[in-house]
């Protein structure tokens, strides 16, 4: 086996088959997502009160009532109970048997006015269920298909003039899918870059550098490290995808919200042609930082120089959303460090012109190659600088190493 693969495998094995990697790198994002989903469920659950609702109908609408369609999970059905008189309903309310009761006056069908009596706060899930119950009964003599359409309401689809892109009011969250994918990718990018930086500085810290470079060429060694650590990042992304896709596939029949989530081929192309070169570029830059410093801790302080521009598009979400084709958005799409997130954010909001995708991708590839060159040069110059930082002007200076 080529020594390059020994280096790559050593790097991969050392990090991936490690308890810390499983706990911190692999499970962190799924756990955060799980916590976020759990939090949303908790907030929704706090609003859910399945104590029955009551009503007193003087209009006759609910004399022979039909049931409303069951609510979507996580909401749960609230029993709706009829009362003959307001006094009965009031007694039940005071006894805690119902959370509220509605009074439909005799002229309800002509005025649409009704009243509700409750002691504690009446949360919207219960209120919506009662309104759905009323709507179902108002439409019970209508053709069920039409009634169903009326209950479901209108779905407004905004479409591009050429029909290549559309977004539905019911699937609005698809706008955010590329952005979320971009953020996940960037988190993986930085954690991989972090491994790489640590890995490059490690041989200097533990003084194995001279032994290693008299066994394998600096280029093979560096390439092996980049392959090993990039593979760690891809493993991370792949497993995160599994953690995300599997629950979506399992729960999509239960939760209608998940059925609408789509990743378009264009998003996938952007990931391949913009995100992947950006991934390599950031890895190269992190490796270059690792090569110039003498301790990993020192390198961490320099990472901010790279990470700050990468997150700028996220900070400018409002401006990018309100005008995704502005000169600012285009500029950020072409600047190497801001391009990855900007392009994915804009992908959810507008049609990206082919020239912008091609130019941005070209710039990313060029910068990725440049970053690898820089890393290789910094590594060759800095590999034997024990306890002493390599100055950047030395990296760029013309001299024989």
């Amino acid at each position: 086996m080529n020594k390059l693969w020994h280096v790559a495998w050593h790097e991969y094995r050392r990090h991936v088959f490690n308890r810390r990697f499983v706990l911190v790198s692999l499970l962190s994002v799924p756990l955060v997502m799980l916590m976020m989903v759990g939090l949303v469920y908790l907030i929704i659950s706090l609003d859910i009160n399945t104590t029955p609702l009551g009503y007193v109908d003087f209009s006759g609408l609910l004399a022979d009532p039909v049931s409303a369609p069951a609510p979507e999970p996580p909401d749960r059905p609230v029993p709706i109970l009829p009362f003959e008189t307001e006094a009965d309903a009031r007694s039940a309310l005071e006894a805690g048997q119902i959370q509220a009761y509605y009074v439909l006056p005799a002229d309800y069908l002509s005025t649409g006015r009704l009243s509700v009596v409750h002691l504690g706060a009446l949360k919207s899930p219960a209120r919506i269920q009662f309104y759905n119950y009323l709507t179902a009964n108002l439409l019970k003599s209508t053709d069920p298909v039409i009634a169903n359409r009326l209950v479901k309401g209108a779905e407004i689809i905004v479409q591009s003039p050429d029909g290549s892109r559309s977004i539905s009011s019911k699937n609005w969250f698809n706008v955010l899918v590329p952005m979320v994918a971009g953020i996940a990718f960037i988190i993986a990018m930085f954690s991989t870059g972090g491994y790489l930086m640590q890995a490059v500085v490690e041989e200097k810290e533990n003084r194995t550098m001279e032994v290693v470079i008299t066994s394998v060429s600096p280029n093979q060694f560096m390439a092996g490290k980049i392959i090993g650590d990039t593979s760690i990042g891809l493993t991370q992304i792949f497993l995160w995808m599994l953690f995300i896709v599997i629950p979506i596939l399992v729960l999509r029949d239960t939760i209608s919200f998940l059925r609408g989530i789509q990743i378009t081929p264009q998003t996938l192309l952007l990931v391949i042609f913009v995100m992947f070169p950006a991934f390599v570029m950031v890895s190269g830059l992190m490796a270059a930082i690792g090569a110039t410093v003498s301790e990993a801790r020192e390198g961490q302080q320099m990472v901010g120089i790279i990470s700050l521009p990468i997150w700028i598009p996220y900070m400018l979400t409002g401006a990018l959303m309100s005008n995704p084709n502005s000169p600012l958005a285009i500029g950020l799409s072409l600047f190497p460090l801001t391009a990855p997130l900007t392009m994915l954010m804009r992908d959810g909001l507008t049609i990206l012109p082919a020239w912008q995708v091609a130019l941005s991708s070209g710039i990313q590839v060029f910068c990725a190659v440049g970053a690898i060159w820089l890393a290789g040069r910094a590594f060759r110059l800095g590999m034997l600088r024990y306890g002493k930082r390599l100055k950047w002007r030395e990296v760029f200076a013309r001299q024989r190493s």
Binding site: K3, H6, V7, R207, T208, E210, V212, T214, Y386
Partner: protein
């Protein structure tokens, strides 16, 4: 064909000339000493030899020609700055370093087992390197250097930080490797060990070769600066003698530059001193080193 041949090597770091027109060659199977004070340019010489640094001028031939990737597998290098991967078990660390020297896993396992047993590390091979004592780590470093059975062994300050027991162990090991025909370059400023082990040396100071050749020839070249005399008589004042030093029942006469021992002998006889012993003192490598470094010796 020499195992290593350096010809007119020059290497600078900024304004500092670390190595200045250095030439020497090392024969196959030789145990060769590369000496010099701290900062003399020894390690730079080794790094140029190993193609870690490119020289500004001059040429290097190692194992019969320029350095290449396949030759790296035939060389064992123990640098002065030593270390191992701390967060992995010792056997995995040796397996990795062995694999970088072209060994397959079975070879590493088999050879490492022998060395681990010999160096009394077999019981701790599954422990993380950072959990081992400093002495154990140094022994592990030696194993990593020898695991691939190199033809050329380059050891830079191998005795640094070692206790007497481990120093002896490393010396025995170098003798053993030498006996097996391995070419060894011992880079050190600890003259005593070099004197015990090496047949030929090169002494570098301020990047220049100050002495080069067989150790006996060099000692002979530097002999004559003192004579040892045993006599019951009092030594009179003698022309050409700078200092008289009693040493274990004898007297050491330190001669001034340009004074030949024979002139001193003639003076002693002329002054009727009854001599029991008259011997031209052979200087130790330590003495030669100090004299050369202090500017007494000429560049070779």
């Amino acid at each position: 064909m020499p195992a290593v041949d350096l010809s007119h090597i020059t290497k600078s770091f900024g304004p500092v000339k670390a190595v200045d027109d250095v030439s020497f060659s090392i024969e196959k199977g030789e145990l060769f000493g590369l000496l010099g004070p701290n900062g003399a340019g020894k390690t730079t010489c080794l790094r140029v030899m190993l193609d870690i640094f490119k020289p500004e001028s001059g040429s290097v031939a190692i194992l019969g020609g320029p350095m290449n990737e396949s030759k790296k597998d035939r060389i064992g290098y123990m640098p002065e700055e030593r270390g191992l991967y701390q967060d992995i078990p010792l056997d995995r660390c040796l397996a990795y370093l062995g694999s970088l020297k072209g060994l397959n896993p079975a070879e590493v396992k088999q050879r490492a087992a022998v060395y681990l047993e010999r160096f009394d590390l077999a019981a701790v091979k599954t422990k993380k390197v950072k959990e081992l004592s400093k002495g154990m780590q140094q022994k592990a470093q030696v194993i990593a250097t020898l695991l691939h059975q190199p033809e050329l062994l380059i050891v830079d300050e191998p005795f640094g930080g070692l206790d007497p027991l481990n120093t002896q162990m490393v010396m025995d090991l170098l003798r053993e490797q030498h006996a097996q025909g391995v070419t060894i370059i011992l880079c050190s400023h600890q003259m005593h060990q070099v004197e015990e082990l090496c047949d030929r040396i090169v002494l570098i100071d301020h990047g220049k070769v100050m002495l080069y050749g067989a150790l006996d020839d060099i000692r002979r070249q530097f002999s004559g600066h003192s004579v040892t005399v045993r006599t019951a008589d009092k030594i009179p004042a003698l022309e050409g003698v700078e200092r008289i030093e009693p040493v274990n029942g004898t007297v050491k006469l330190h001669l001034s530059p340009g004074t030949a021992p024979q002139e001193v002998l003639r003076s002693l006889v002329a002054q009727n001193v009854n001599l029991e012993q008259f011997e031209i003192s052979m200087p130790t490598l330590d003495e030669i080193f100090i004299r050369v470094v202090q500017g007494e010796g000429a560049a070779a």
